[in-house]
């Protein structure tokens, strides 16, 4: 069964829990199993946290736009922010020995570890979009 849900969230930390809760409900409605839901949960938390903190920089007038879609392929998540963007290739590898004791920078690693596809792009209307797919 296919389905889609779109949610606009304010740029605050509480949106991370809200996004995860909505995704959890939606994924369970779609009949997805616990391990699958758990992977989606982590990916959404990390991507929404990045959008709030690094993308929108907590700006009250900017939203984080979350789209959840059940597709024939599996589960697709897109998270859009309205920030100035970043170059994914410039993000340091947190598993390099010199970065192991850094206190941040692991969110993207988790997204890539638990999702099958993670792609970033610039939105034509401004901001960054991360698209993630978990195949079934």
């Amino acid at each position: 069964m296919a389905g889609i849900q779109q949610i606009k969230l304010p740029s605050r930390i509480e949106s991370v829990d809200e996004a995860a809760l909505k995704a959890d409900e939606f994924a369970k409605e779609q009949g997805l199993g616990d391990d699958f839901v758990s992977a989606i949960d982590l990916a959404i938390r990390e991507s929404v946290a990045n959008a709030v903190k690094h993308g929108n920089k907590f700006a009250a007038e900017k939203t984080v736009d979350l789209t959840l879609a059940r597709t024939d392929e599996g589960f697709e998540i897109t998270v859009r922010d309205y920030g100035t963007g970043f170059d994914i290739d410039e993000i340091p590898d947190p598993t390099n020995p010199e970065n192991l004791l850094k206190t941040n920078g692991r969110g993207i690693l988790f997204m890539r570890s638990f999702m099958d596809v993670v792609e970033w792009s610039n939105h034509e209307g401004g901001g960054m979009v991360v698209k993630m797919i978990k195949r079934q």
Binding site: E14, V16, R45, A49, L101, K102, R106, L109, F110
Partner: protein, 115 residues
């Protein structure tokens, strides 16, 4: 309702913090940071974090574990981890932090390792 409850026990000169709940961005991470800073302020620098009750952790929570580890080390102390759930173990493996932390399954074994 708070995301996390942190209870403190003493075993000799080792302070055990039993964590119950989520260590995630926001309240959970802040609560852990406050607890560690308070212990260091009280001169308690042998710390064992019991994570058996931590059902969920995100990258911010992992970062807070690292921050706690470095803060304790900086004061000449030691921070070790006890009873990781499978999920936390997986996340520490992905981040290669299992090579950084001393991790124990048994409390008695963990306590012995401080002496």
């Amino acid at each position: 309702m708070s995301d996390i409850t942190i209870s403190e026990r003493q075993a000799g000169d080792v302070t055990i913090l039993d964590l119950d709940g989520k260590v995630t961005i926001g309240e959970g991470s802040v609560a852990l940071r406050s607890a560690i800073r308070r212990l260091l302020g009280e001169g308690k620098s042998k710390i064992l974090l019991n994570l058996a009750g931590v059902g969920y952790i995100d990258s911010s929570g992992i970062g807070e574990l690292v921050s706690s580890y470095t803060a304790v080390n900086k004061e000449g102390g030691t921070l070790k981890l006890l009873k990781l759930t499978q999920k936390i173990q997986d996340l520490l493996a992905i981040t290669k932090l299992l090579t950084v932390f001393d991790v124990f399954d048994e409390e008695s074994e963990a306590l012995s390792s401080f002496s």
